[in-house]
Amino acid sequence: MTTFSPQTQTAPRLPNNSSLPLYGMMAEFETPAQIMEAAKKVNAAGYRFWDCHVPFPVHGLDKAMGIKRTILPMLVFGAGMTGAIVGFCLQAFTNAASFSIWALVWVTGYPFLISGKPLMSVPAWIPIIFELTILLSALSAVGLMFLMNGLPRLSHPLLSNNRFRRATDDRFFIVIESRDPKFLRSKTEAFMKTLGAKHIEVVEDR
């Protein structure tokens, strides 16, 4: 475990005796206000592959980090419209069509005449069109959110770090990844020391 604590701040570099490659550097903060200030600085310094890890969404931190608004709602709207169309076509085909289609299996429409109602009873189809719109929107909202976040993941370098366990409890972390074009071990370390973190640490890529 390679660590750095404020007591040894005079040390020129964090020790990294391990042969493992570097994932990045991690700074630990104690309050939302501290990480907010630090995040603004990291963003202003021009880093791109960096992130804040917080136990709850800190109000306004995404803006401070310069995160652009996600396009998720537009995709979900598309999925919802798909659900509506599927709902309409499903009912129109199964209850009002007299032709067959090949859809996974060979299926035939069944013009369903009941109580003298018209075959295309669109008002009566609205509840199911509505339900399928909601169903597809909700599932796509969650599915696409996972996909865009790169989840699910069974392992991650950060999850192997013992100190990082408190990211889901009461600590706030900033991690700058080593793949960032601006990442330079000594410079990034010096920069992170200016952020006012409680603790700075090297994260190995394991």
Partner: protein
């Protein structure tokens, strides 16, 4: 740190002086304390009462399994159904359980859209209650179809007969509404739980717990870039679940309202059913929250203010239900339709008069006691009243379904429904199924939305001294301290966003 959760003393945080907000988390100022308070329930051995309740519920669930098996092997004749009463306990239980579920979605979705921050203390287990209630609800239409092995005919699955379901029927709308409702509620519940499952994963000591919670939390690591999309997705889910929950009980009410049976054929049914669903659901939340917060020491998170607010909603929806009962009667008279008039007079004074008056006294008279603050903030009273409301709402469905069918147009076809032991056993057993699932949830999953509760604590404000950074609450002397340090201990400044 004084901790009220250890004793029986209740902290009264129901008062909210102008310009400040009552605290939603008592006696805790550190995020770690909230984590510990909630996680220890899942990490430690539960109290003895949990084991006793679990054994009882498991026994009831076993009896449900027996009753259902007996029904499937023998036929629906083992129930007290007859011609004309072809729907009775089965559909009563179905509507009852679907209705119970509605409060969970109301708390998780509608209160979220209205930015009612007090929802964070109760939303997790209210959502769990929704899922388990819908599981119970789904059981009944599944088994009442008679030939259970053909229940898949409800879905539009291509088959060799080239037959399709009849999409103009409200019964089929119900299949889609309830299954969509179950799916969306489950997804909503799970997504909300992921950050808290990650908390449990990171605290887990045992290898198995680490693996199980690790798998369930799908690699969540609190990344703000993830949170950003997560919050958008959560908002979308809330916005989608809101019309959905209103549609589900409306569609359930269409099962009745679209038919011609006097007593069912009324246009007031959709709003009346939705109000009744929320009414019964909140009563169930109170019935569960009161023992749960006591048993697991969660009084600092599910505070008196939460209970008081829920009792106010019970009062409001109880008044709506009472209005609907009287309006039904009025319209029955005003319509001039003799079958309709008879149906309603028969409900109140016919063979099932006792069921009707149980319903009225439990649903209309009981909640009126919640006008008094002393009742709203009394733990024993609110528990008893919430049970009354649950009983009353079960009888409401029984009255609507059975009295309307038993005495319809032709006196020659009238009959009386008498439940058999299988009817009663299935009903009681469903409570066992619900209880078993709920107790397992309390034992192994985060009962309270940890991340969400932290986010509504005054300490979560990234701009201390300002109210959410908008200056709406003004400065409080020390610009760098937390609001809680600068203003009287139990208050947090009101932000412009909160007042929505």
């Amino acid at each position: 740190m004084s901790n009220s959760s250890k004793g029986f003393i209740e902290t009264d945080n129901t008062q909210q002086p102008t310009g400040s907000r009552a605290p939603l988390v008592l006696n805790m100022h550190k995020f770690g304390e909230v984590t510990h308070q909630v996680c220890r329930v899942a990490e430690n051995r539960p109290p003895m009462a949990w084991y006793i309740a679990f054994v009882i519920c498991l026994g009831m669930m076993g009896f449900l399994g027996f009753c259902v098996t007996y029904l499937i092997f023998t036929g629906v004749g083992v129930w007290g159904l007859n011609n004309p009463v072809m729907w009775a306990y089965d559909i009563t239980n179905f509507v009852f359980w679907v209705g119970i579920g509605h409060a969970g979605t109301l708390i998780s979705a509608i209160l979220f859209l209205f930015r009612q921050k007090w929802r964070t203390g109760i939303n997790r287990f209210a959502e769990a209650m929704t899922i388990f209630a819908v599981v119970c609800a789904g059981l009944f239409p599944g088994i009442h179809v008679g030939r259970v092995w053909l229940a898949y005919w409800l879905f539009p699955i291509p088959n060799s007969m080239e037959m399709w379901p009849q999409f103009r029927s409200p019964l089929l709308w119900d299949v889609f509404a309830v299954s969509t409702y179950f799916t969306v509620s489950l997804v909503f519940w799970y997504v909300g739980m992921i950050p808290d499952l990650a908390t449990l994963r990171d605290r887990a000591k045992g290898r198995f717990q680490q693996f199980a919670y690790g798998l369930a939390s799908i690699g969540w690591r609190g990344s703000m870039r993830h949170w950003h999309r997560y919050e958008v997705a959560y908002l979308l889910l809330a916005a989608l679940a809101t019309p959905l929950v209103l549609s589900v009980h409306s569609v359930v009410s269409f099962d009745f309202a679209v038919s011609q049976v006097p007593g069912w054929h009324t246009t007031i049914f959709p709003p009346y059913f939705v109000a009744g669903a929320i009414f019964s659901g909140f009563a169930m939340v109170v019935s569960l929250a009161v023992p749960a917060r006591q048993l697991f020491g969660l009084k600092d998170l599910i505070t008196m203010r939460h209970l008081d607010n829920m009792n106010k909603i019970i009062l409001l929806t109880g008044c709506m239900v009472g209005y609907a009962y009287s309006m039904e009667f009025f319209i029955a008279w005003y319509s001039g339709a003799m079958y309709e008039k008879f149906a309603f007079v028969n409900r109140a004074f016919g063979q099932y008069w006792w069921a009707y008056w149980i319903m009225v006294s439990c649903n209309v008279i009981t909640p009126q006691l919640f006008w008094f603050k002393a009742v709203r903030t009394s733990i024993p009273l609110m528990f008893i009243l919430s049970i009354f409301v649950n009983v009353g709402m079960w009888f409401e469905r029984f009255v609507i379904i059975v009295t309307s069918l038993a005495n319809d147009f032709l006196p020659s076809s009238w009959d009386q429904f008498v439940p058999t032991w299988v009817d009663i056993g299935t009903m009681v057993g469903a409570f066992g199924l619900f209880g078993t699932l709920f107790l397992l949830f309390c034992r192994y999953l985060p009962m309270i939305a940890i991340a969400e509760v932290k986010a509504v604590m005054p300490e979560a404000n990234p701009h201390p001294g300002h109210a959410d950074g908008h200056h709406a609450g003004g400065h409080h002397g020390d610009d760098h301290g937390f609001p809680s340090g600068a203003v009287p201990a139990l208050r947090e400044p009101r932000s412009s966003e909160d007042s929505l």
